[in-house]
Symmetry: C2
Subunit: 243 residues, 2 copies
């Protein structure tokens, strides 16, 4: 922690506003004013550069950044399907940033695990009361698929990721699910896949399956405390396996 | 929630990888391999375009996106101070993305508040045991400044933001503080500043000061449960004021 962080300043100061930031601010204002919304097609480049008062090369540069941030979606082609639109879905940008920030040492592994487990426990707690029958059935189907994949760590880990995200989405709070998923990605890519020894894998996976089943039972019973407790046990177990 | 989200897929599928993503992946790998780290100056554009096997215009485009994502810092000037470096500090990108995603309706206000309060409560709980004497003194100094600013809502809100971030940083987990701060920003910009009626402001602020003092007392006493409880009360109070 640097001195400035201790001073309660979360972000380092930036210099003068960069061009894409100015365009972003203006677009944000248009969205808040209800003049643009998710899924809307953007005006033509000419109209846009006039109304935002930036040159067309500058506008193109800014749009490229917005594309990178998943704020707009650029589709090639003309007619109804083509063009540049305000994105109507979440992209993987936050997940990617988390991974990069972790790689750069801005966040420790321990901090990521701590935060991820907090989000995961809360998501399970809320999912216990909010989950639908369809979501429960989906979780049960995933468990069966995971049972069949215990000996194949790549397949198992992919299903495991889907399982935990499905639990989080069953909370009905997609932000919780998105952040939790981003932190899982950051950890899985660079910790689990590297550190978990193949020899201990089958034992680990079948042990994990037991706690997954106990978690799904708690969700079936709509028992929030039991669901949170199962996540606590499960993550403590993974922490130990990874340390 | 769309069908695909219910299927446990957190992100919408993307088409072929975009150029900046490929450059980003390669840089990420270099960072993980220990060949590049935070603060390092990047090789020359020529060397970089050769080693990453992209054209120089393509490289420049990718670097502009990395700059927008706060992964690199570009300083004009030559010599030791100039050039392009791997960023050694956190930027405001996640905060900006949160605001935009909220504006686009990807996240509801309710979801943002729920998640923020979860992070804030945990941060206070951990801060109760982890805070240093300097951090406590800083919080007490901020409280005094806030007392003096109760009648000036802009100054008060700025200090209030610093106070809550300082509590979160005292947890020793900067990721928790960063996410919590990002969500505060998203909510403050578009809810508190718009919705809180000026007439009710002084009463609200002096009431908030009481719970801030109670929180700092809990941190002074190193009482984690009391700290968490104070945050719960404080945020419930704000939720009501904002609803």
């Amino acid at each position: 922690m640097t001195d400035s962080a201790n001073e309660g300043e979360l972000f380092a100061p930036v210099g003068k506003q960069r061009l894409f930031e100015s365009v972003l601010d203006q677009l944000e204002q248009l969205i808040y004013d209800g003049k643009l919304q998710a899924g809307d097609r953007l005006p033509s480049e000419r109209a846009l550069s006039e109304s935002l008062q930036v040159s067309r090369p500058s506008l193109r540069e800014a749009l490229r950044v917005l594309d990178a941030l998943d704020i707009i979606t650029v589709r090639t082609g003309i007619g109804a399907s083509g063009g540049t639109r305000i994105s109507d879905h979440l992209g993987p940008t936050i997940s990617r940033l988390m991974r990069l920030y972790m790689a750069l040492g801005h966040f420790d592994l321990e901090d990521v695990l701590h935060t991820r487990h907090l989000l995961e426990e809360e998501a399970a707690r809320v999912a216990a009361t909010e989950r639908t029958d369809e979501q429960l059935a989906r979780l049960e189907a995933l468990l069966d698929q995971m049972d069949a994949a215990v000996s194949d760590s790549d397949t198992y880990l992919a299903l495991d990721g889907k399982f935990h995200v499905a639990v989080a989405l069953a909370s009905g709070n997609p932000l919780l699910a998105h952040l939790m998923g981003s932190m899982r990605d950051a950890v899985t890519e660079h910790l689990v896949k590297r550190e978990l020894a193949p020899a201990t894998w089958p034992k680990l996976a079948s042990s994990a399956q037991k706690s997954h089943r106990a978690l799904v039972k708690a969700l079936r019973d709509r028992d929030a405390d039991a669901a949170a407790e199962q996540v606590r046990r499960h993550t403590a177990f993974y922490d130990e396996a990874a340390s």
